[in-house]
Symmetry: C2
Subunit: 256 residues, 2 copies
């Protein structure tokens, strides 16, 4: 498994296409959403109003291809991208250089993969790391607070946790509010409008074993759900689970 951000970014630039959960432990991972400048205020306000789903780590100037916490190239150094045309995903790419525009403002949003190292340090098991798959993510029936032309449902990631470790999982992840922080929901997926845990909307399904409780964290795919609902003319995002590996350390975002 890759250990250093630059090494991981080079591998992704070379075409490696894998989910990044477990990659570069201790280094902060981020969701990407790049939108035309005319939508930047609405998006930044959307993020401010929905901080659990959209904790903003960094914002570029229009057209910039790197960021203060990301020394790589945002167009090539993520393992996979989803491109949206008027809210419709028009395909997965490993390189979006030819689609880049000088008016794109890129937002790096905290990712819950960041606190998985802390969960493992606390001996809280993380199922999708055990199985080597992508984390399962679900659209919920909870609406985000809209902002300008942007609205959409909250998306969550799910990790099954043994009942006796649920409190620890809350305690550990609470200390990382910039990467989604404490769970938004514990148990009872039906009350989030999730009818089948085996059919995630993004990522891969994982088993919930006897004695385990499904725990839901707000997810940085929420901006993509807003793009799909609100249909701005153009957007580039990471493919869910295929994150930007930044040069920030997890500890930069640790609160007491």
């Amino acid at each position: 498994m890759m250990q250093e951000p630059q090494q991981a970014r080079e591998a992704f630039r070379g075409g490696l296409r894998v989910p990044t959960s477990g990659c570069c432990p201790g280094w902060t991972q981020a969701n990407l959403i790049s939108l035309p400048r005319e939508f930047a205020y609405d998006f930044l306000l959307f993020a401010q109003r929905n901080p659990k789903s959209c904790p903003v780590l960094d914002v570029t100037e229009p057209g910039e291809t790197s960021a203060s916490i990301f020394a790589g190239d945002l167009r090539t150094d993520l393992p996979a991208y989803t491109v949206y045309d008027h809210g419709e995903p028009i395909g997965q790419r490993t390189d979006v250089t030819d689609l880049w525009r000088d008016d794109l403002v890129s937002f790096l949003i905290g990712c819950s993969f960041t606190f998985e190292a802390a969960l493992l340090d606390a001996a809280v098991p993380v199922r999708h790391l055990e199985t080597g798959s992508n984390v399962p993510m679900f659209r919920t029936d909870r609406e985000c607070r809209p902002a300008g032309g942007l609205a959409g449902p909250m998306v969550v990631s799910m990790r099954p946790i043994p009942a006796e470790r649920v409190a620890d999982a809350v305690r550990v992840t609470s200390r990382y509010p910039a990467v989604h922080g404490a769970p938004v929901h514990i148990g009872a997926p039906e009350s989030l409008g999730i009818t089948d845990l085996r059919s995630p909307d993004f990522g891969d399904p994982v088993r919930v074993e006897h004695g385990e409780v499904p725990i839901f964290w707000a997810c940085g795919v929420t901006p993509q759900a807003a793009v799909m609902r609100s249909r701005p003319p153009f957007a580039i995002a990471h493919s869910p689970g295929h994150m930007a590996i930044t040069d920030a350390r997890d500890s930069d975002f640790l609160v007491p």
Copy 2:
């Protein structure tokens, strides 16, 4: 001393003009900066890039006179306002109704008065509360990260703390990142470019007693320093120390 936000706002609407430190313990206080819509993105980005100084608690729609965490009237319910014309303060007011504009976007920014109740609960003394004066605030020689047309120095508030309680003051305030959180600087005011603690740029001076250390927290007057430097055509702000008393509870912003 007033206990409830609505009661305080009514008194301020009636013309009472006092600093709000110590007012309505347990209720969150906020800095106000209202800017024309065309500057809203630059300001929100400035805040995102300078989160210690400018933790955003709420943002209104253009022209709105209340906010989701402030059920009062932003034009009348603060004890005092400063109005800026091209960056020049053109006077203190207790009511800005006649100056209000439909294109003003109002930002409520966390205020360190919020954590003073927690300091007192921890038996950490707060000098300006003892003396019944406004907190002293200083421009520093530290530049904020600029955003678009906005740039300026970080402003800090200062509280002298007995040396043996400094660690407690750090620990307690660290838990409130949305209201400036941990100090940005402890001791050595000269290294912030502060030459005379007895001459604050805003608020009132307080004595630093023998055995006490001056502790500096980032301050929500920072946006006003940026307005003075960057000179947008129009802005309305609270007068330093004369805050918006919101309907949010301090505990809403407590982290583990």
